[in-house]
Symmetry: D2
Subunit: 484 residues, 4 copies
């Protein structure tokens, strides 16, 4: 209700002094909304559900499909025929962007336009606050991470139209690799290097050599640049978050290399926002070298349904050039999910999630170390603050049924634990990966991985450890002939 | 958002001219809301879902449980712990009324107070528009009809504390009768009178004598008044809508009688608002005689879930004295349902429902007449614009399994069709009703009833008639030995 | 989906092994539901929102208004015309009970019937678990507390039709008193007695005489019984939870008195379930004396919107006789709210709420004690585990504007803090209460009350104490001429 | 509830015969669901909201994020932290597809997998039923049309890696053109040809020459193929639905050309499903020539929010190769919207929408013809069953403020009416379009367009015509000096 309407509420409907108190509350609420619209910062404290819905509903009412008296004679009028659909989208139907640009304002949809802009601002504020203060622009893209990588690659390529190659530090996850091929570019796979490594978690100062881990083959990159010529290279794609035992790429050094050779640098930061370690790497990389953009999923970092990604970077123009490539308008549903989530959480809420994740990671590492000891195995060394790999060397045997460990866990309600046997190869789009899943052709030990990702609860880790212990025992009895 | 907030939306968020259009729409919407709050009339055209939710949400925000910063140190602070519950009540939690009075304003809940008042005004406007222009006050009571009758009886009794009896024209529906007993009063049952009747539907001018029907035993009332003394009579309770073959009571004559003897008159208009015939009777009764209040259910007349009733009358004080008796605050859920329904429908929407009901009634009557003829039965004559009774005389036989007709229909998805065999007696609170279900101890023919009530769809009647025909045939084959 | 449907999902839609895992989860979920339906006990752990909605939706589908192919030719077919209304009621429309009885099964609504029965069972289980193990029956009534008291009084009176009086230990809250009058009975007010009292909170063993508090005038009851004759007394109404400085009535002694004189005993336990002290009193009272029924609100004890009450007792028949008096069917919305809330909370959730309340009560008492000391006031002694009264003697002065303290607090977002000046009288239905608000005509000191009721959060008390301190200071400056 | 649970409902909860009826209804409902899962055809009659939600909820429960007891130690566990978000997605969080392929089944999400598959089947069934019976495969892609075109182009290019050009019949709408550039391909623009045309609507048999209209420059295509060489051409992109006065491309002839030269053919059928004329062209084109895939938006053809498109074609492999290119999993929200919409509508519902659209188109054409006559203008001839262009030659004058007509209409609530002045050029990605908006560099007359698109209501056209008349009159007075 606007102010005039409120004043029109007659005393015969409700006594003036009762209404006055309500009006004070209304003013307080609107102050909060005004602050958001003016400052576009993540609020410190999360908003109540009703305040979030209040804002979202008010914005939707600014879109033309919700105007009381209107007649639409265009070909796209935001009509929604199924009520269930209309309601679940809070009456937003026009999506975001225009034919020309994903970040353009829509004449028919002022509310959707504001929603998209505010969301991007809040996301940028969040990114700055978790450890990347130099970030200047972030845009929520209604594409999942892989497709967004492809969009970014095409945008970069459109400025280097004669380049052909993408240098890519091998990480055994299909969608990033596929995005290079889908973009019509030729991936040059730089295998991970087996290097000696310290056993501590990132951020810790103590380092103690315990074995070898997989890391970025820096010399390999240099030699490929020299071989192919910097001009022929569209960009380098590096990766932060990934499954253990692969470590994060050495973002800082790669950024320096890119700057030195004037090669664009795209970082796949898939679920990296949840770890301050990765954020620090990105900020340092951009400060001391070149990072054109870093891309991360909204689902893993912001705990929304799958389907969106964030393109962020250190100059507005670079990020916007990616959004500008998007041909036509797009779904607004990811922006809405992100906006509602960020307002509900507030900065404190997100900080708590990160803090809890870090603590649970500690518990998981400790638990797996103990379990490894019990079963005569070890934690594979690596620089990875989220994922942990435990060797399964003594389980391999002749029977070769290691994958049954995964099945047995799944049957017990454990999801996300991967068992990797070191022997399988895989071919994608004509490129063969030796020992697929191990991130390196020189890998030799079978292992399982488990992660402590954002949103994980302590009891999940406790249950997982108990179930894993049970499964490993049963496996030995069933498949390796141990006595019960 | 208040006007200042809207103005604070910077051009960097959305171009000014796009926002200007949205603001026009916003003004239009608020004009509609303002009109409602000022005039408190049922809008002609129904509102869109989003406008209804907009109003309801704005009202809820005026209640203290939704104030952003508050601390509650009372014993009732409107806290709701289950989110599912909170959401389905649109954040309303304080109910309506105060300890003193159901229509009092609540200091903690300005929004709920407005909601209750607006709803009562709209209901009164509706009642006036459907044929009772003399009605001056209506209140939605969060009690189903029977309990509301009891409340009204107690309110009337509190002004006639020495009276003991309620004169009641027999209608075989338990809850009204029970409400008299529950009120601690002694019901005097005046059996229906078997009188000759015309066959036409009410409102039609042609009348043709076709048999006898049950009607109000007017002389019986007069004689009871004389016998007991008017002072001893708390009130007369009459009934409009009821199952055929009982006709509506002769409200007008009873109203005159009440006026003549200075006896309060309470009308059970259970589902009578949906028929303009009953409305006309009520308006005439009040104009030429005495009607203190008439009570009807919200579920049957307004198509909301069971649980509310409307007390309406011709002087504000009489109606309010009933609401005032209600000890303490009460559920606001019925008012919310009624408000959302009336705004969604608008006057035109309610008129359409009434029109469709009347047409479907015509189809049902015609169809049953044909069916009766086919099966050698007849439509029982009565003055009843909603319910129709068809005799089942030829189905009775020795087997005495008439109730199977009901079961067979139920099994085929037909609900609401009652089969009444004329022989059962029933005792309620010590009062015995001969031939229960027939509304009269002089009834003699078994029958079934079917109604065309508000919200019925043409295909329901078509299906019913087909299924009834099938069932009657099967019944004869199965229970009466007819050949298939 | 039933089991056959699930099996019909072809492998071409989803691989068999993926579906198998989902089926395990489905079985687990159904096991939980089955357990609930069979044992009808409050689950220990709260259910997830989606499980609660799953159960509720499944139950709704058992009601005839949701049958896919049906035709309704009755006068009440559960039709709902407004989609917003239908959805918020989860497709339940038939309410609960039948014309004959609030606890009767409905032929058209098997789901609603189950819902009501399960809810009553869970409530009974909750009551037994919080300290009244002897309770055998509880029924959720869709009436707020006052109206439910009236219903109970009428039910009791129907068995003692010649009785006229209700003996009532004075408590200055209108709705309970009004319910006696509304029931058509004559209240006999027994004023509270000023007696010496110990300062500790209930349950504590240490007791230290600190002044006088108001308690049940036991001799007054005895003398009235003798004066009027036990036969003339419909029942005694006692009260547990109430505003300080009134103490809870001595339920145990009154129960013994009722048993001795064969007088029914109805306890107004308005918000008493949240305190184990009151529960203990009730259980002991029933064990050693007579308690016919105790009545409490659903909103204050179960944190749902206003509108329901629970009638509970120690013999099934007594409780059911009250439900049986209810004439006609009634709203199911309160049962639905209670069911969803109890399943969401589980036993552990409710226990946590009680525990938190008790702790916050301690904080509030401590804080007010300190504040009282600072301002030269004292905590008024009383046996009240929820509400606390602090004297305002030094604030009274000539100006006599004590009520401004309440306004100033309200303006600062504090709700529920009552300021009681000892001088006002009030007349309700012809009965005059001296010093209304003080629960006794012998009260002499002005005071304010604050409560720690279920659902209160620690920060509310912290904020309240700070604001109260500020207000008391400002009041002295503004109205009593103190220097700032 | 599974069958065992239902059976476990004791008689003490609800009488057996009441439950039996409910069980019959349950069986009926499940039969409908089973039929859908088995046959995967669009139901003839639309489903009720509650049945749609029943299916959707049951499917969601098959996804691992909704399993009651689980522990997730992966990096993507479908966690959703904001309840508002979770609820609006009906507890679906895993999206659709896997890293390898958009149509792959997800181990963690059997429900989402079924949802996506069923949706694709229903969409294919719909496409076949509206006039393209030869269509064999359709996939809902969670990308808006332009981005989907880009994906399709990249998929086609991956099989013709040495090709460089896309031959494109000019249509002045940015996003399709941009999709070619974004795919990294070089667009060859074939300007529309001005040819003589008949005035009738498509499908009518009568044809009457009334002037010239813009059509596909068929010889232009042939000459470009010869010039560039078929091998160098990645594909031809043609367009069906577009703004008048551009006609639909001659799909059939282009399809033959593509077949003759072995060049892939991609059709931009943006909002063409709603017209049986376009569908017929597509089916014929595929029968007599080559169409690899046709792409259309979900929002315009199925009335859901912006954000999805359908890729359809005549061989499963061709369509799937496009889906397979999508790197990684994707949003499931578009599939959910489409599924709920199609089930709600049923085949009959969609047919009604198409029928109403066609009728309203007739009204619009008639109305604009009359208006054109009144104002001395004419309808521009073209083969376009959705959009109509009316000349504005006499409004041009010196003032050159034709765009004000658009503003004046917008101000009156008319959206979607475009005013095109013939003089503006536009450059996109280095390509210049003369007389942008006219689809041809040889256009010479200014005009406005209005469309009758799916979902339009008769009153919208009536209002539009009245407002347009008013605006044209006012424009003459204000900008051209006519007397009022």
């Amino acid at each position: 209700m606007n102010d005039t309407t409120l004043k029109s509420i007659a005393k015969s409907l409700v006594p003036e002094n009762y209404l006055a108190l309500a009006n004070d509350a209304r003013a307080e609420r609107d102050k909060e909304v005004k602050l958001l619209l003016e400052q576009r910062k993540l609020p410190i404290l999360g908003w109540s559900e009703s305040l979030v819905e209040y804002l979202v509903s008010e914005l939707a009412l600014l879109d033309s499909n919700n105007f009381p008296s209107r007649c639409g004679v265009g070909e796209r009028e935001g009509r929604v025929v199924c009520d269930l659909v209309r309601r679940r989208h809070y009456n937003f139907t026009h999506g975001i962007g225009r034919s020309g640009n994903l970040t353009d304002a829509q004449p028919k949809a002022a509310g959707s336009t504001i929603l998209a802009n505010i969301t991007n601002s809040l996301v940028c504020d969040l990114i700055r606050s978790v450890g990347i203060p130099n970030c200047t622009k972030a845009i929520v893209i209604p594409l999942a991470t892989g497709m967004t990588m492809m969009l970014a690659l095409r945008a970069i390529h459109s400025k280097r139209p004669t380049s052909r190659y993408v240098l890519w530090s091998r990480v055994d996850q299909q969608s990033c690799f596929k995005s290079i091929c889908a973009a019509g570019l030729k991936p040059i796979i730089i295998d991970s290097l087996l290097a000696s490594e310290c056993s501590t978690t990132p951020g810790s100062s103590q380092c103690q050599d315990v074995g070898s881990s997989f890391s970025t083959d820096f010399p390999g990159f240099v030699s490929k640049i020299n071989e192919l010529g910097a001009d022929q290279i569209c960009c380098i794609v590096s990766t932060t978050s990934c499954f253990a035992p692969r470590s994060s790429d050495d973002i800082i050094e790669l950024a320096k290399l890119c700057q030195a050779h004037d090669i664009p640098h795209l970082v796949n930061n898939a679920y990296g926002l949840q770890s301050s370690y990765f954020s620090h790497q990105l900020n340092q990389g951009a400060r001391t070298g070149r990072i054109d953009a870093f891309i991360q999923s909204t689902d893993k970092n912001l705990l929304v349904p799958v389907g969106g990604a964030i393109v962020a970077g250190f100059t507005t123009e670079t990020v916007e050039s990616i959004a500008r490539l998007y041909p036509g308008r797009a779904s607004g549903t990811q922006s809405l999910d992100v906006l509602m989530t960020l307002l509900s959480l507030g900065k404190n809420g997100y900080d708590s999630l990160m803090k809890e994740r870090k603590e649970v990671y500690g518990t998981l590492l400790e638990g797996l170390k103990n379990l490894a000891q019990t079963h005569g195995e070890r934690i594979l060394p690596c620089r990875n603050p989220i994922s942990i790999a435990m060797s399964l060397a003594s389980f391999e045997g002749k029977s070769g049924r290691l994958e049954m460990i995964g099945s047995m866990l799944l049957k017990r309600g454990v999801s996300g634990c991967r068992v990797v046997s070191s022997s399988d190869n895989k071919t994608i789009d004509g490129n063969t990966f030796e020992r697929w899943g191990s991130h390196s052709s020189s890998a030799s030990v079978p292992y399982l991985t488990a992660s402590a990702a954002l949103g994980i609860k302590p009891h999940e880790v406790t249950n997982f450890l108990a179930k894993l212990d049970e499964v490993l025992h049963k496996y030995r009895v069933k498949y390796m002939g141990d006595r019960n």
